[in-house]
């Protein structure tokens, strides 16, 4: 109590001494006193008797005695101390659990909503380099079916051309199956690839190259001319029927001798024999490998003499498909465009340039590992680290050449 309250308290005590209550003439009867003390009266009656009790000391005293005797003093002030178990139990009372359940449901809903929001707004691996060559390749392969059909049509229309093709049936089957094979089969062993490259170089001639390039341009004018490397590969593809024939077994008029050696070599690779034995076999295989260019030369000469459009176009298609195969199997550096960190880069020479780069932009030169490089945004650094060589990135309106 405050000081003011204590002052009133003192005055009331004093007033209680001096201004004592009034004993009225009429008193409550025993039943009324008992009913009041028991708290069994309706509100109106209780209020009425209360006004009497305020002024009647005798009745009030009796009521107090009755209340004390009935044990109401103890009943009202029974301490409500609970045991620990009761307190813990009260925490899980249904009246409280309903709020807890509501809160849990609310939290769960918010969590799920947040998860969905994160999924919908999350950028799909923006900092992971993606090679867009596959997409552009799909764009290329889609129109490729048209030239293929066209060649097929030409082949059926001119029997002479069909005759000029040495092995039309296996070529056609290989062409049809190639996309699946390139997609599924692992890249060829480097030894075989080297051998094929050697063979291609040996058998390629300037005339054949010119014919191939010219035919490729004639058949598929919508595409840009293949780079020189690809042209060389296209020449290699001209020899592929022979190479493929090796895979498909002996053809008409060919001896089984060379397949024996190839079988041996493959068997040797599979069994993994001793190195010297393998070398010995390679030496024994050399004559066979030398024979093949002779056949190829002859076939190429025949082809160059006849110059069938279908063949050149077919070789161009094969070249592109093979290029796709090698691109998928090879490193992504050979792609023309790359998408890194949500940005597109084009290869210009040996460096990658952001497509957003404008000629008016001034390029800041930064070398990897330098202090300036460390000061760059982490995202920009991450993008630049996706490239091995120099790269020009447009970042927040500025161009950086990172090398």
């Amino acid at each position: 109590m405050s000081l003011n309250d204590s002052e009133i308290d003192v005055m009331l005590r004093r007033y209680a001494k001096v201004g004592n209550g009034v004993n009225t003439g009429d008193h409550l009867d025993a039943d009324e006193l008992n009913a009041f003390a028991a708290g069994a009266l309706p509100a109106a009656a209780r209020s009425h008797y209360m006004s009497h009790l305020v002024d009647c000391d005798e009745c009030r005293r009796t009521v107090t005695e009755l209340a004390a005797a009935s044990g109401r003093f103890d009943q009202v002030s029974v301490p409500t101390t609970k045991s620990w178990w009761q307190k813990i139990g009260s925490l899980f009372a249904p009246s409280r659990l309903r709020y807890a359940a509501f809160a849990a449901v609310l939290i769960a809903v918010m969590g799920i909503g947040y998860g969905i929001w994160r999924k919908t707004h999350e950028r799909p691996s923006a900092l992971i380099a993606q090679n867009e060559r596959a997409a552009s390749e799909n764009l290329r392969t889609a129109p490729q079916s048209q030239p293929l059909v066209a060649t097929g049509g030409e082949a059926s229309q001119s029997p002479t051309v069909a005759k000029a093709i040495p092995q039309p049936t296996p070529m056609q089957s290989v062409d049809q199956k190639r996309p699946e094979t390139t997609a599924v089969s692992p890249p060829p062993p480097p030894k075989e690839a080297d051998a094929l490259a050697k063979n291609g170089r040996v058998t390629s001639s300037p005339a054949t190259e010119a014919a191939n390039v010219g035919s490729a341009n004639a058949v598929a004018p919508s595409y840009a001319p293949a780079p020189s490397v690809e042209t060389e590969r296209a020449d290699t593809r001209n020899r592929e029927p022979q190479n493929l024939s090796l895979l498909h077994g002996p053809q008409r008029g060919e001896s089984n001798e060379k397949y024996k050696t190839i079988d041996d070599r493959s068997r040797g690779a599979n069994v993994a024999k001793a190195r010297d034995e393998d070398n010995a076999r390679v030496q024994t295989d050399q004559p066979v490998a030398k024979e093949e260019p002779k056949d190829e030369e002859r076939a190429a000469r025949k082809r160059s003499e006849s110059k069938p459009a279908t063949l050149t176009s077919r070789s161009g298609v094969i070249a592109r498909q093979e290029e796709t195969k090698s691109d998928k199997a090879g490193p992504p550096a050979e792609a023309d465009t790359r998408s890194v960190g949500g940005r597109k880069f084009k290869r210009q020479g040996n460096e990658w340039v952001d497509v957003k780069l404008k000629p008016s932009m001034s390029v800041t030169l930064i070398s990897r590992g330098s202090e300036d490089f460390e000061k760059l945004d982490s995202s920009l650094r991450s993008i630049s680290q996706q490239f091995s060589g120099p790269v020009v990135v447009v970042w927040k309106g500025k161009a950086y050449r990172i090398q």
Binding site: E7, M11, L12, Y15, K17, A37, A38, P42, S47, S70
Partner: protein
């Protein structure tokens, strides 16, 4: 005419509610004492009229039914059976409540002999010495309504009988205690009016001013207390005048000690505001003057209280309240 019809309809509904309530009450009783509904209806009707309809004429039959359901069925059946001369019921009454009566008599009597005498006379009062027209004795049991336990009612009867006896004796002998009571009260009034016992004023002017202020404060306090509602006044009476503890005062009024404490604090604030308002309105004092006078009078009264408590003679009021914590009962 219509009003008479309405009243008769209302009375009819009440009668139906009372009859139904009496039937339920008989059903609730563990031992109906071979009573029928008709024997209960008149008693129940009297109880309803006394405690409900008399104070709340607008009460509805549902309220009547609810009130009847609060009556003590077993005790009422026992009382009615005793009233009707059921010897088995009498035996049960004496056996079940003999100890209660003796205990109440001891509490109300100064010695054991008087207590025993009082207890014996209770049974006679309950049975009744007079005989009604129907040949039955009209004892006090006829006044038991069932709106409280029979044991509590018996205690109240014993207490009232003891007070009646005391009054009869008091008419003959003015007790020493009462004489002391009156003397102290008179002295207190004189002291309040003169102010001699309150202050040690430095000058007669100061003493006069202080006494005037004390009188003004006391009058304002009396008016402020009268302005309280009955329940608040009863709480003040029980706590300050009867010297009950907060727990006991709250129990009499039917609420918890904490509630009593909060209510008393509010009452004190209300009284202070009212006293200050009275002093400002009637005497033209400023707020600070009223507050200062109140504080000064309270300090004076506190000093006086302490001196009274230290007095060897028995004081007017037992040491009570916050310091005393002694129950007057």
């Amino acid at each position: 005419m219509l009003r008479i019809i309405d009243l008769s309809k209302k009375e009819h509904r009440f009668e139906e509610a009372i009859a139904a309530g009496a039937k339920r009450l008989l059903g609730r009783a563990e031992d109906s004492r071979a009573l029928d509904v008709e024997s209960l209806v008149s008693r129940v009707r009297a109880t309803v009229e006394k405690y409900l309809l008399k104070h709340d004429p607008a009460a509805v039959p549902d309220a009547v039914a609810a009130f009847i359901d609060t009556l003590h069925a077993n005790d009422l059946c026992l009382a009615i059976a005793c009233q009707r001369g059921d010897q088995a019921a009498w035996s049960d009454l004496v056996e079940g409540y003999g100890a209660t009566v003796r205990s109440a008599a001891r509490s109300a009597s100064p010695n054991e002999e008087m207590a025993e005498d009082l207890a014996q006379s209770i049974w006679a009062e309950l049975h009744g010495l007079k005989v009604n027209d129907d040949g039955r004795a009209s004892g006090k049991l006829a006044y038991y309504s069932g709106a409280g336990s029979l044991g509590g009612w018996l205690r109240a009867v014993v207490g009232q009988l003891a007070i009646d006896r005391h009054r009869r004796e008091a008419r003959l002998v003015h007790t020493e205690e009462d004489a002391e009571f009156d003397r102290l009260a008179r002295d207190g009034a004189i002291e309040t009016n003169s102010g001699d016992g309150f202050t040690a004023a430095a000058s007669p002017e100061e003493a006069l001013a202080t006494n005037l202020a004390a009188k003004a404060v006391e009058e304002a306090l009396a008016r402020a207390l009268k302005g309280l509602d009955d329940e608040d006044r009863l709480l003040v009476k029980l706590y300050y005048f009867d010297g009950l503890r907060l727990r006991e005062a709250g129990a009499v009024l039917g609420f918890h000690e904490a509630t009593a404490s909060r209510r008393l604090t509010r009452i004190q604030n209300d009284v202070r505001k009212q006293v200050e308002k009275e002093l400002m309105d009637e005497h033209g004092w400023t707020k600070s003057e009223a507050t200062r006078s109140l504080s000064q009078v309270a300090t004076t009264l506190q000093t006086d209280l302490e001196s009274l408590l230290k007095a060897p003679q028995r004081s007017l009021v037992q040491p009570s309240g916050a310091e005393g914590e002694s129950a007057a009962v």
